[in-house]
Amino acid sequence: MTDYNAMEIMISVAARELENGATVGVGTGAPCAAAMLAQKTSAPDLVIMFEAGGISPNLPEMPISVGDSRTFYKAAMAGSMNDIMEACSRGFVDYTFLGGAQIDMYGNLNSTVIGNHANPKVRFPGSGGANDFASFCWRMMVMTPQDSRRFVEKLDFLTTPGWLQGGDSRANSGLPLDSGPYKIITNMAIMDFEPVSKRMRVISIHPGYSAKDVQDNCSFELLQAAAIAQTMPPTAEELRLLREEIDPYRYVIGR
């Protein structure tokens, strides 16, 4: 069996979710690596967009910032933040990848504070473009380590909308119709959301982990799909691309 680390399987799994010809709004790090891997494997025509204005660049290397020169290197267009956000708002962007300090069973995210807002225990960056992407893009995905302190019963602050309180709550919220969380990808498993309750549901578990491992590292009860698949590990080619072409200095995949 090929040797790989947690970040490598998360990125490989995420890349496989992106079909050819789709549009994806990405940030720096793992999401960008996943999009680049998809372009080099199953989705050569994947269109990458960066919130600061870069549209369909030919990324020469991984950007350090979603606004640095690489994000519009040989791009179709170097536009504005409004060009990107309005394209998302109009329904032109299919996918986005987000993260956060906390996530709940409905895929809502917290990247604002731990503790109360007035005088927080810990202050985080805030929404940035996360709330916008999660509100506008058709399918929001999350890549995050499986950890009980991240997968919480209740968020300290609901920064970014998932399925809100589940059921019809998002459909009734005023957010664009039919948009919402799609897949949650961790170092242990892949989760989706049960269509009616909109609760997080395990659909695939990575080699070396059990259903118990996944639940033990989550503070809320995870639903289980009727048939739970075993995740295909990163292929030798996926690993080669990640290690040699996409992230040669291992900024993202680590050592």
């Binding site: 040989k74 179709a76 267009m77 060009d83 394209a87 708002s89 664009p176 039919d178």
Partner: protein, 331 residues
């Protein structure tokens, strides 16, 4: 929202952003070759009954070749955005291709005078009319481009222009002031003429933008006519110059002199003699029919139209006029 005042005019298009999103979700985002003949593009993307918008500013960087083709193909029952429309409207009126219009500026050709043909059609009772202003229609396109059902403006209040529009006046919850809400306008199909585009639809133009960037973003289907095709490498060498990204575009048609007899900035000036001929010949039904047969119905394409109106020599003249070469000679 408490509506303080609202226009009684008909809203020809649904401003619902979720319906627009459902449509835009289906648009192809792949980099595919979209080059086709203008005849094919108009046949394929301009359907009878569609709501049509035309880029540019009347007779400036306006896709005149496409207007001719729409008339030549005898499209019917179109809606039309009468936004800074001048010679484009004159052509579409000659073909009576539209039966409803959002009016900002119509009939006139600015300093050149009024079009008898456009006026006759507008006074015929065959056309449903809703009144707006140049900025109001630009704002409606902006709302659509933003993916929201409206944007607020501060014009038209207290006038009959709002009374015969479909705008609504409400009180701003932040300031207590009255503002007008302009409903989003998502044209079914638009045509924009540019200087350069690649085969995927990434497009550039020089000079004033008018409302073309918002129009491109707002349109469900978009035909680009371009003076010339350029390589995608050239587009990607200078992505800051791209005004319209490829994923908005359905067809790319290479039409040299595509804005003739209008003005194409940095390329050719308007053919004022020919535009005057249009305005005068319209006054005589017989002459006008013959004129249209010669210049539209009897032409296969824009190249033939140009050939019948001075051809390459005329284009050289208009280029010299655009570049004000005479001033260099005289100085």
């Amino acid at each position: 929202m408490n509506i303080i005042d609202q226009g009684q005019g008909e809203l020809f298009l649904d401003p619902d952003p979720d319906k627009a999103r459902a449509f835009f979700r289906t648009k192809n985002r792949k980099l595919v070759n979209k080059v086709m003949d203008l005849k094919e593009a108009v046949a394929k993307f301009v359907q009878d009954g569609d709501y049509l918008a035309i880029g540019g500013f009347g007779a400036n960087r306006t896709p005149i070749a496409a207007c001719h083709e729409i008339v030549r193909q005898k499209k019917k029952n179109l809606g039309f955005a009468g936004h800074t429309s001048t010679h484009d409207m004159e052509i579409l009126s000659a073909g009576e291709v539209y039966n409803r219009i959002d009016v900002a500026y119509i009939i006139g050709l600015e300093a050149r005078g009024l079009s008898t043909c456009s006026r006759r059609y507008m006074e015929s009772g065959k056309v449903k009319v809703t009144e707006w202003t140049n900025y109001s229609l630009a704002a409606r396109l902006r709302a659509a481009a933003m993916g929201v059902p409206f944007v607020p403006t501060r014009n038209v209040m207290g006038t009959d222009t709002i009374k015969y529009s479909a705008a609504k006046t409400v009180e701003c919850p932040f300031t207590g002031k009255k503002v007008v809400l302009m409903p989003a306008l998502y044209p079914d199909v638009s045509v924009i003429h540019v200087h350069e585009a690649d085969i995927f639809g990434n497009a550039r133009f020089k000079g004033i933008a008018v409302a073309d960037v918002d129009l491109a973003n707002a349109s469900k289907k978009l035909i680009i006519t371009t003076e010339k095709l350029i390589t995608s490498d050239e587009i990607r060498r200078d992505p800051s110059s791209t005004r319209i990204p490829y994923f908005l575009v359905d067809a790319v048609c290479e039409v040299p002199f595509g804005a003739y007899p209008g003005n194409m900035p940095y390329e050719y000036f308007s053919d004022e003699a020919h535009l005057r001929e249009w305005l005068s010949v319209e006054k005589d039904a017989e002459k006008f029919k013959a004129f249209l047969d010669k210049n539209i119905y009897g032409c296969n394409n824009h190249e033939e139209y140009i050939a019948r109106n001075g051809g390459a020599e005329k284009m050289r003249e208009l280029r010299a006029k655009e570049l004000l070469l005479s001033k260099e000679v005289s100085s």
